[in-house]
Symmetry: C2
Subunit: 271 residues, 2 copies
Amino acid sequence: MKNTIGKTPGLGVILVGGRRDSQSFVRIKMKACMKVGIVPFTVELPEDCSEAELFDAVSSFNENPLIHGVIVQLPLPKAQHLDEEKIISYVSPEKDVDGFHPTNVGNLAMQGREPSFIPCASKSCIELLLRNDVEIKGKNVVVVGRSKLVGLPTSLLMQRHHATVTTVHAFTGNPKQVTRGADILVSDIGVPNMIRGHWLNPGVIVVDMGANSVEDTDSLKGQRLIGDVCYDAAIVKASAITPVPGGVGPITISMLLSNTLDAAKRTYRHT
Amino acid sequence: MKNTIGKTPGLGVILVGGRRDSQSFVRIKMKACMKVGIVPFTVELPEDCSEAELFDAVSSFNENPLIHGVIVQLPLPKAQHLDEEKIISYVSPEKDVDGFHPTNVGNLAMQGREPSFIPCASKSCIELLLRNDVEIKGKNVVVVGRSKLVGLPTSLLMQRHHATVTTVHAFTGNPKQVTRGADILVSDIGVPNMIRGHWLNPGVIVVDMGANSVEDTDSLKGQRLIGDVCYDAAIVKASAITPVPGGVGPITISMLLSNTLDAAKRTYRHT
């Protein structure tokens, strides 16, 4: 793109407050941008910033022609005066590279429509399956969890790919019974090792979207990352499984870059 | 509303082309409006109207302060130049009493957000269950069909009510096996009597959203309406079932009126 039309995609990232994990995610995203030649723009606001200040930051990125993708790092501080849903709705749908704007979610849900962007974690999950020649159409897919960032859009995307989708959540009566019917199981729970061997159908394909930090006295940092699925138990039953760390996580970052590139291409009508 | 603040809700209906069933649906909606004191506005465009003319009609209703709800009667004629999705997106989300605008569908899909309107057929289905004290939370709900008018929003709405939802469609490998796991079965297929007794779990609650016109030489009109579910076979297995005609159909019209009233109340901040 740089060589042919002399333009460079730009990603605007807004960070509010001092959460260490959020700061680290933002750093990872910026580094990844620079590695592939996307220009990262960031603005950091204090935890006690006003809603108006945050809206202004989003506005300035929405209107900046050098910025093609805009993301607000989630979660926002749990402050009464910052309404996460309102702020997400304020990101221009055409720059919403996270894919969380309700118009994009609606377009993702509806056959015959195209969302401007598919949420990165869900896109990562499907890319992983497609590139490994896993058939999705007609398969029983069980998505455990329905968060707006991961579980919900993944259910919608799997349905778009013509899977028969069941979404399991906290109120599901007998989750094990449902997961045992899965050809493909996607977990978005946030509870380490919750899914055990007897939850799984032999031959199932497991995509573990969990990334749970647990104590580990053997590690220099005193902690390590594990998934929602008990890997040791699942590996003997599953025909394929993504590890944590190293599975969908890194691909998710790539999908953010890919969405940003798509946004820039659309702006310049570059193919 | 009329008595307290001197205002009357208005519903704007746009009909394109001469489909007899569409004309009849529009007449039913207008009559229902008049019965409850909602003022119906209609505009009829010829099948060969331009897209610009149709946009103008939607615009004029969007901007008319006497009209609080705007619907475009679907399906539009299958003309190349009329893009149904584009036209639905053009209805103001705040007047979209059909609930088909992608922003409203996205807000329906996401927990923690409120769509301005829930699609009438889906709302009818849930009202019917709630008013009959059917527990939805934690139940296995199978929705057969995923049309944007009925199946898709019903799946999303059932999930909002914390059911464990599975959506069955044309690519589902073994639909009977899935439907036999249902505590509540909702059908949106459009094939008369497709769901037979052996598709059903004993005690299941059946909501038949189908309305299929079949030949009937005994009838004066030469045809009659039947559902997707074989009623005679289902009635001996189900603990409750909605008949066709007379089940969800009439309630769907009421939900349209209810959405229109809600829209007017919001406009005038009337409670």
